[in-house]
Structure formats: structure tokens, C-alpha cells
């Protein structure tokens, strides 16, 4: 499998429209992250893809051809459910050996996968003695058994400590390098924003935005924070710089601090701001530009229904 398309997926639970004509796609080497508030439809969409929930309407295409979630399709996927727990009386190795046999993966691969997810030392220990993070890593190991074409990860960061997160980053990076597809749902935007290729923002069962993090940032057009550090007399008195900013119409959102100044400007005003800075070359010792975090972009897109600012949207388009 090299490409998967989900088109017009609709699911209704009684009075609740869990998914409303959701369309997204995934291609080889891509990591797609589903984000959205609780009840947005993230897990429902994953379960439709896994065949656990039958959609009221859905078109699934694999490599451009209409497909069904049947045994053949499922033989290409690995799944990590949210907050997974396994039979407490068995060891991690016993559980993984079962999934290896079930997937037709050589049992000899189990030790390598256990090592890869950092559970080699606890492989023979009963799962009742595992921490939440270790159970999550075991689930991750089961998901990657046999190097499936499609990885479906539901809240993969849940319960993971730094070591577990490193394992997850390695799994994501390796999947990308090997041309596998990953679709995951998470609330951890800050943790994952640099690890994913595309973000699909869902709210109330609808897609509000579906693009790369950079495009979503531009679409939101949130102010960029620029911090200036001054030297010499300007470090004690920033008024000449503030005055120049006022003349350029950039002084609306300033945060003075000792030896410097913070300026929040819309992204399209950034060049204008750097022009002002050019007038004070000798006095400006350092400049730091900080883009808005993806969590702020997420809040903004949710609040505006995914529209972003009209100007920015036009620019993106």
C-alpha cells in the first residue's frame, strides 16, 4: 500500500453526528496527525479505518482503487489502541509472540522488537508488574511487528516517559524513512508538531483544516514574537526604538524588559519590522524571532472554525 484515501466519511451515533463527510488521505512516508477536542471524531475516524466502526457513508481507496476493510487490508496494518492494557498474568514476550504468530511474523523477530521498544529487560516479567508507559511501549511494539504498511496509533504519547517518547520518535522516523504510512490521533500538539508531516484538525466531526504545520501557521496568521536585545545607551532607554516602531505602525503590542524589548507583529509585517531594526544596527545586539506554537494555532483555528485570517488564507491559496 502506498496511498490511502478516505472520502466523505460520515458516522452518526443516535443524535450525534460523530463524523460529517470527512475526507483525508495519506501517502507513503507520510505521518498524519488527527487533532481536535474530545469528541471531535478522531478515534471514530481511526476505528472506521480499522473496520471497528461501520460508517454510514465512506469511500476507501487504496492506491487509487476502491477498497474495503477486509482481511487483506488488515494484514497491512498495525494498531496501537488508546490506553491499552494486556492480560496481566502473561509476560510481555508471551503477548508479543501471540501477535507475531497471528500476523504471520517470525517469532524470532519478537526479541528484536522488544529490544527496540526498550522492554528486553522486562520481556519475561508478568505484565501486572509493568508501568503504564511500559504497557504503552509493548502496544507500540505489537503495532510495529512485521513492519506494516500502515500504522494506526491512537493517543500514542499517553503514559510515555522520556525514554518511551524516544522510542516513539524512532518508530515515527523509521516509518517515514521506510516509506510507511502513519496516522495518529493525539492531544500533544507541542510534543508532536515537529514529528508529523500533516495535521488534520477535526471539530464536531468535521475537518476544519488539513495541511502541513507550516501552512496551518500561515493560515492562522498569528502574531510573530520578535525579541530585541540592545547595547549601550539603548539598553537603558528604548524610547528611540519605540518611537521608530510607532512611526512604522508597529507599536501596538510591545513588552519592555530590562535591556530589551519584545514586539508582537503579524507575520506580514515582519519585513517592515526588520527595516526598523536596520535603522538601529549599532544598538541592536541580538534578535530572536519566535513563531507561534502550534497549540496557539490550534486554538485560533478552532475559534475561527478553521478559517484563519482572510488575508492569510488568500496568501496560502
Amino acid at each position: 500500500m502506498k496511498r490511502i484515501e478516505l472520502q466523505d466519511v460520515s458516522v452518526r451515533f443516535g443524535d450525534l453526528q460523530a463524523l460529517d463527510k470527512v475526507t483525508t488521505q495519506l501517502q507513503s512516508g507520510e505521518i498524519l496527525m488527527l487533532v481536535g477536542p474530545n469528541g471531535a471524531g478522531k478515534s471514530t475516524l481511526l476505528k472506521v479505518l480499522l473496520g471497528l466502526i461501520e460508517a454510514d457513508a465512506c469511500t476507501l481507496k487504496v492506491d487509487g482503487q476502491p477498497a474495503r476493510v477486509d482481511k487483506k487490508f488488515k494484514s497491512h496494518l498495525g494498531y496501537l489502541p488508546e490506553s491499552v492494557a494486556f492480560s496481566e498474568s502473561l509476560s510481555g514476550k508471551q503477548v508479543m509472540r501471540f501477535f507475531a504468530r497471528a500476523r504471520g511474523v517470525a517469532v524470532s523477530e519478537v526479541d528484536a522488537v522488544l529490544k527496540r521498544v526498550g522492554l528486553a529487560h522486562a520481556a519475561k516479567r508478568a505484565i501486572r508488574g509493568y508501568s503504564r508507559g511500559m504497557r504503552q511501549r509493548l502496544g507500540l511494539g505489537i503495532a510495529i511487528l512485521g513492519d506494516p504498511d500502515l500504522l494506526v496509533l491512537d493517543e500514542p504519547t499517553g503514559g510515555l516517559d522520556q525514554e518511551g517518547l524516544s522510542v516513539l520518535w524512532d518508530v515515527l522516523e523509521n516509518s517515514r524513512k521506510r516509506g510507511r504510512m502513519v496516522i495518529l490521533s493525539s492531544h500533544d500538539l507541542t510534543l508532536l508538531e515537529k514529528r508529523v508531516d500533516r495535521i488534520c484538525l477535526l471539530a464536531e466531526g468535521r475537518v476544519l483544516a488539513d495541511d502541513t504545520p507550516d501552512v496551518l501557521r500561515r493560515q492562522a496568521a498569528l502574531p510573530v514574537r520578535v525579541s530585541f536585545d540592545f547595547a549601550g545607551a539603548m539598553a537603558d532607554d528604548t524610547s528611540p526604538f519605540t518611537h521608530a516602531l510607532s512611526l512604522a505602525g508597529l507599536a501596538a503590542d510591545l513588552t519592555p524588559r530590562v535591556g530589551g524589548l519584545g514586539v508582537n507583529v503579524p507575520p506580514d509585517q515582519l519585513l517592515k519590522l526588520l527595516d526598523v531594526r536596520g535603522q538601529f544596527n549599532g544598538a541592536v545586539q541580538g534578535v530572536r524571532v519566535q513563531e507561534p506554537g502550534l497549540d496557539a494555532v490550534y486554538d485560533h483555528l478552532l475559534a475561527t472554525g478553521g478559517a484563519g485570517s482572510p488575508a492569510a488564507t488568500a496568501e496560502v491559496n
Partner: protein, 265 residues
Amino acid sequence: MGAVARALVGHELLERARDRWVLVVSLLFGLLASGTSLYAASAGGAADALTGPSLVTLVSLLVPLVGGVLGHDAIVGERERNTLGLLLSLPVARAEVVFAKFTGRVLALAIAIGIGLGAAALVGGAGQFAMLSGLFVPTLLLGAAFVSLGILISTITSRQVTAASLIVAIWFLFVFFYDLGLLGLLIATDGAVAQEAIAQLVYANPAGLFRVEMMAAFAGPEVLEGLGMTVGLPAKWVSMSIWAAWIVVPVGLSALLLTYSRRLR
């Protein structure tokens, strides 16, 4: 049965073997069966006449509970651990998952029964071996019927504790209250309900059918009269049909329910 289902049967068996509850119950059954056998052996020539009926009583009380408990968490347990979706995301039909779970659990039960009756045979000596081995298959049928019921309960409940409570209630119903209910029916209707109908109702209960068939096998058909049964044993094919129905229908219904469940949340 496909590769996934075969792997699942083995996994179920392993899981049961590592389950402390199953180990404790197997041990208890072995001890009680051995105790019964030892006591009967001390009676000398009447050993068979004592061991058989005593074991029938023990089995008809204990095995339905063990079977029910073995089956009660098959589906709901996976659901609570969030592994049902993981299991069903494997290339396997949902019905195969149900039947594989049933098979694995019945195999575990067979081993437990084998250990119990084997221990009794060891204690009772070679003389009791034939009688004890004759008890194995009917005991397994009784247990399998309750495993099947347990799996059905497991499929229709959303919490394991609910499934456990229901299976204990069903055990009480079939093992204790059913016969009392029939007795009450006889008294309440002042004999208006025919003896044949009452007998058929006894045979419709797997625990009752097991008790009556085994008592008749060990102590002769005349024992039925002593039990107040004026009607003979059902024909072999009727008996086998009743067992087949109790074993196949609940687990089959579970498979259907899971297969046609559109929303596994």
C-alpha cells in the same frame, strides 16, 4: 480455522494456564475429587457405587461455575483492556475470534477436569479408572455449555463485573433454583402439570440433564424413580441434541452479535 484463530486458541490456553483463579479451582476440584475417591476406596467393594454419585454431585455444582467464569470475560475483558479492537484489527473474522476463544477456554477446562479426575483415579486405584474416565466427556459437555453461556454474557455486557454477576446468577438459577422452581410448579398447580412435562423441563437444564444421566449411569435407571422421575431418560439423540444446543447456540449467538455489531466503541 485460520492462522490468527489458531494462534488465539493457543494464546487463550496459555492465558488460562497462567490465571491464578483457574489454577486454584483446578486444584480445588482435584482435591475434592481425590477426597471423594479416597473416601469411597476406603469402603472397599462399594467404592464405585459411592464415588460415582458423589462425584456427579460435586461436578454438577462446581463445573458449571468454573465453565461460566471461564467464559465470562472472553469478550468484555478484551473490551475493558482496550484490546478487543486490537484483536479485531488482525486479519481474522469476528466469528473466528469468538470460536477461537471458546475453543481455547474449553481446552483449558478439559485439562482442569482431566487433572481433577486423574487425581481421583490415582487415589482411587485402577478399579475406579473406567468409571472416572466415563465421567470425563459428560463433565466436559456440562462445562462447555456454561463456557458458551459465559461467552454470550461476555458479548452482551459492557463491564466485566456485570458479566461476573450475571454468570453467578445464572449458575444459581440452573444449579439450585431451577429444580426448586419445578417443585414449586408441581405444588402450585397441584399436579396439573404432567410428570412428563416436568421431566422434560429437568432435561432441558444442562445441569439437570447431566445429573440425571450420570446418576442413571452409575446407579442404574431405577435411581430415577428414587429421584421422583417417573419418566425414563431421553433418547440418546435427544440428549445429544440438547447438549449440542446448549453448547452451540450461545457461542453461535455471540459470534453473530459480534459480527453484526456495527459500532465497537
